[in-house]
Amino acid sequence: MTEPLLSVRGLTVEFPTRHGILTAVEDISFDIMPGEVLGMVGESGAGKSMTGNAIIGLIEAPGRIARGEVWLNGQRIDSLPPEAMRAIRGRRIGMIFQDPLTSLNPLYRISDQLIETIRTHLPLSQDAARKRAIGLLDDVGIPDAARRIDDYPHQFSGGMRQRVVIALALCAEPDLVIADEPTTALDVSVQAQIIDVMKELCAERGAAILLVTHDMGVIAETADRVAVMYAGRLAEVGPVRDVILAARHPYTAGLMGAIPRLGENLVRLNQIPGAMPRLSAIPPGCPFNPRCPRVMDHCRSHRPALSPIEPARKVACWLYPEVTEA
């Protein structure tokens, strides 16, 4: 069996506030294999983006990684000094942001931003970096790349800008790309194109993807495996087909049930009753218990750990006898 590219163990992210410590991400563990696409899905505030930021070392103060480890290719990276971590960002882990309208610096040409990033990580001359930048823009599907490269961000449409962002994330050939809601800010009509470009380029380069999104449709089309997050914890992890067709965790089942299907004659859209708890008021026991249709007394006082129930699947729910206490 090959070694995982990324291994997250017991990661916990905390925010000290005046009213006590808020735990945004608690004790999550997962692996990403080389070249694999792991989808991370959940409602807003479930801690998906926070997990991505923690891996790449960009948690904004006063937030901090309180416990846990992040390993990349056998190297522990969560406790590296800032300068060593900086050298990993962009070089070994690339990141794609949500909103292409705000993630490019408006005052710099696309060429400046690409060449600057390439030359930060690779020992290339200005000319060689420029050639590489043009090649990248070509790869992400920007027509007439050699001419457009000297344009400013505002001269591109939203979809084109997201292609530029992808080129920027990939320009030093990272092993892992963290894509944080890469299509949420885009028109539905270009979402599929962006996902295709991202997936194809990463596959060509053998880069793995951590795809953070709340869009189950995107996950279904793109990911190999899916990790479902709820209230800062992993609820379920498994191969994408298995999870979609036969969700084990009631929360996952609720998520799947909330996706309307064509041809279905719905009067109302299905929804999970209630709302995800605030970080300051996560209930004891299973965090999903107040909204769970299959809640048992045990769930209200005992917290389930993410435990293997089938060879490739893990779930944190007391419905399954294999599950242990956290």
Binding site: R86, F97, D99, S103, P106, Y108, T117, Y152, H154
Partner: protein, 324 residues
């Protein structure tokens, strides 16, 4: 862009016309020009003849048109007090004020930006908190007090620097500069610091606030996620975006620095247009006051124009975009 420049030029001309009207009203109606020009013993008939000869009996609109016409040729009449052409008088005093204003604007800009960036990047440091506290004093203390304090410390007690005048000047024909002699430069230090202090704290606080704002933007986070060096992020990506509002304020402040050099020039007896204006006010030397008003307005208008054009240089979004 051309249309923009033309529109701005037209607006500037309108502003200048309005200021000219005010200057004209001061010139014509503050006191009686004839009594200011002649002695008490001049007979009434002679006064009337003079009034007629100078065109003071013409309709107001004709007089205003004549005033504008003269102003366009740089003609503002004769100073009552010094009996010299006003324009000549102002031009001879101008180099002193401009050198002082630019020296203090330079100090304010360089020190202000450096301290602003520093305090923004180290918001929780002791040194930053100290600077912020001191800057409050800088904003709230009046200029003359700072000037007198500096004179007391560095000129009277320590005796390091001269307390007044420009020192030796070198005549370049059309410009008398104090920048080429040691005594000239030494004389410049105290008044330039005094004049710069308010602008300095203003620029510093502005840079700090803007920089903190910019550091929170997505493109800075993305720059960090790409592993760019701290240097490249702070001084390339962040500072350039901070500069747009700073240019505006600095430009406008340069105008105020020239206009409000009056106080500093009085404290340090600096022979510039500001002290010329103060003595003119004291002696009701109306032509000088009117010309000074026009001159300050012209500087403000010109600086505004330059600031607007600078936006185009800094911000590509304002330039006519191809493929947009």
């Amino acid at each position: 862009m051309l249309a923009f420049i033309i529109r701005r030029l037209a607006q500037s001309a309108l502003v200048m016309l309005f200021v000219a009207l005010i200057a004209f009203v001061i010139f014509r109606y503050v006191g009686d020009p004839i009594s200011s020009m002649v002695g008490v013993e001049t007979r009434l008939e002679d006064r009337e003849i003079m009034r007629e000869r100078l065109g003071l009996n013409d309709p107001v609109i004709v007089q205003f048109a004549r005033f504008i016409g003269n102003a366009l040729q740089g003609e503002f009449g004769i100073s009552y007090r010094l009996q010299q052409p006003v324009t000549e008088l102002i031009l001879s005093r101008l180099p002193a004020t401009i050198e002082l204003a630019f020296a203090s604007a330079l100090i304010a800009l360089v020190v202000g930006v450096v301290l602003g960036v520093y305090t923004a990047l180290n918001p929780r440091g002791y040194f930053s908190s100290g600077i912020m506290a001191v800057s409050l004093i800088g904003v709230s203390l009046p200029t003359f007090l700072i000037g007198i304090g500096l004179i007391y410390l560095f000129a009277v007690e320590l005796g390091w620097l001269p307390s007044n005048g420009r020192g030796e000047v070198v005549d370049l024909g059309w410009w008398r500069t104090g920048l080429l002699t040691e005594s000239g430069l030494r004389s410049l230090i105290l008044p330039a610091i005094t004049l710069s202090l308010f602008q300095l704290t203003l620029i510093m606080r502005l840079v700090r606030a803007e920089m903190l704002e910019v550091m929170r933007t997505e493109y800075i986070r993305f720059a960090k996620a790409r592993g760019l060096t701290r240097r490249a992020i702070n001084f390339g990506h962040a500072l350039k975006n901070t500069m747009i509002p700073v240019i505006t304020i600095t430009g406008l402040q340069l105008g105020s620095v020239i206009a409000f050099a009056i106080v500093t020039e009085s404290v340090f007896q600096w022979p510039g247009v500001g002290s010329l204006f103060v003595t003119s006010v004291r002696d009701v030397d109306v032509p000088v006051m009117a010309a000074y008003l026009m001159f300050i307005a012209l500087i403000f208008v010109l600086i505004n124009l330059v600031v607007d054009l600078l936006y185009f240089v800094v911000d590509p979004r304002l330039r006519a975009g191809k493929g947009h």
